[in-house]
C-alpha cells in the first residue's frame, strides 16, 4: 500500500515566519508534487519534481520554494509566510513506471493557518 506522509496535520505560524512542510513517500516513486487546496478553487499545483535535486514550477509557485535532496522526501518552503498562504497543503507522489503514471497518491494534508 502506498503511503505518503506529511509532517504536520495542523500548523499555525505568524506572518513573516519561514515555514517548512515535509512530505515522505515509501514507494520509491520518482515523481512528487505539492498542491494547495482552497474552497471553490480545487487543487492548484505549486511545484513538482521528477527526480532528486530536480524541480519544476507549477501554476502558482510565487512565494514558495522546494527541496528534494532524497528520492523519498520533498519539502515545501514558505520563505516569508503571508496570510494569503493560509490553506490546505497536499503532497502527492506517482511512479513513472506505472501504466497509469499519472495516478497520484496523496498524503493527508497539512492545514496551515498564517496569522
Amino acid at each position: 500500500d502506498v503511503k505518503v506522509t506529511q509532517s504536520s496535520r495542523y500548523l499555525v505560524k505568524r506572518t513573516g515566519e519561514k515555514v517548512f512542510l515535509e512530505c515522505v513517500q515509501d514507494m520509491d516513486h520518482e515523481n512528487m508534487f505539492w498542491y494547495r487546496q482552497d474552497p471553490g478553487l480545487g487543487l492548484r499545483l505549486i511545484y513538482f519534481s521528477y527526480d532528486v535535486k530536480m524541480k519544476e514550477k507549477g501554476d502558482i509557485p510565487e512565494g514558495y520554494s522546494v527541496s528534494r535532496e532524497k528520492k523519498e522526501r520533498f519539502s515545501l518552503i514558505l520563505e516569508s509566510a503571508s496570510t494569503n498562504q493560509t490553506s490546505m497543503y497536499l503532497c502527492a507522489s506517482s511512479s513513472a513506471r506505472d501504466t497509469y503514471q499519472e495516478t497520484q497518491y496523496f498524503g493527508p494534508g497539512t492545514r496551515l493557518l498564517v496569522l
Binding site: P39, G42, L43, R44, E102, Y105, F106, P108
Partner: protein, 110 residues
C-alpha cells in the same frame, strides 16, 4: 475561465439514490480523466481512471467520458452514507500535469 469546471454543490441525496456528478473542460488536449474522492480531513484518493470516450464501470461507480462535448460524468448507484465526501474530477494532457475541478461535496442522508 477555468480549464475545468465543476459545480461545488453541496449535492444532497437520500440513501439508495443515484448520485450524478459532472465536469466540463475547455482544452481538447486533455486525454486522461480521473475521479478522486476526498473524505473530510483526508487527502484525495483515486476512484476511477479513464482514457477514451465511453463508459467504465467499477462496482457501484460508472465513469463516462464524452470528448466531443468535453464533458465527463461519475455516477454512483445505490448510494450509501459512506459515499458522503467531496468528489474531484481531474484530467491530464500531453504536458503531464493534472488539472483538477473545484470538487463537488456529496451528502448521502440515511
Amino acid at each position: 475561465q477555468k480549464e475545468v469546471e465543476q459545480d461545488p454543490g453541496p449535492l444532497s441525496v437520500p440513501e439508495g439514490a443515484i448520485v450524478s456528478l459532472n465536469c466540463t473542460y475547455s482544452n481538447s488536449a486533455f486525454q486522461y480523466f480521473m475521479w478522486y474522492r476526498q473524505y473530510s480531513r483526508k487527502g484525495p484518493e483515486l476512484l476511477m481512471y479513464t482514457y477514451s470516450s465511453g463508459n467504465k464501470e467499477d462496482g457501484r461507480f460508472t465513469a463516462q467520458v464524452d470528448k466531443s462535448s468535453k464533458y465527463i460524468s461519475l455516477f454512483i448507484r445505490d448510494s450509501q452514507p459512506s459515499d458522503s465526501a467531496t468528489y474531484l474530477c481531474a484530467m491530464i494532457g500531453s504536458w503531464g500535469k493534472l488539472q483538477f475541478g473545484a470538487g463537488t461535496q456529496v451528502v448521502v442522508t440515511p
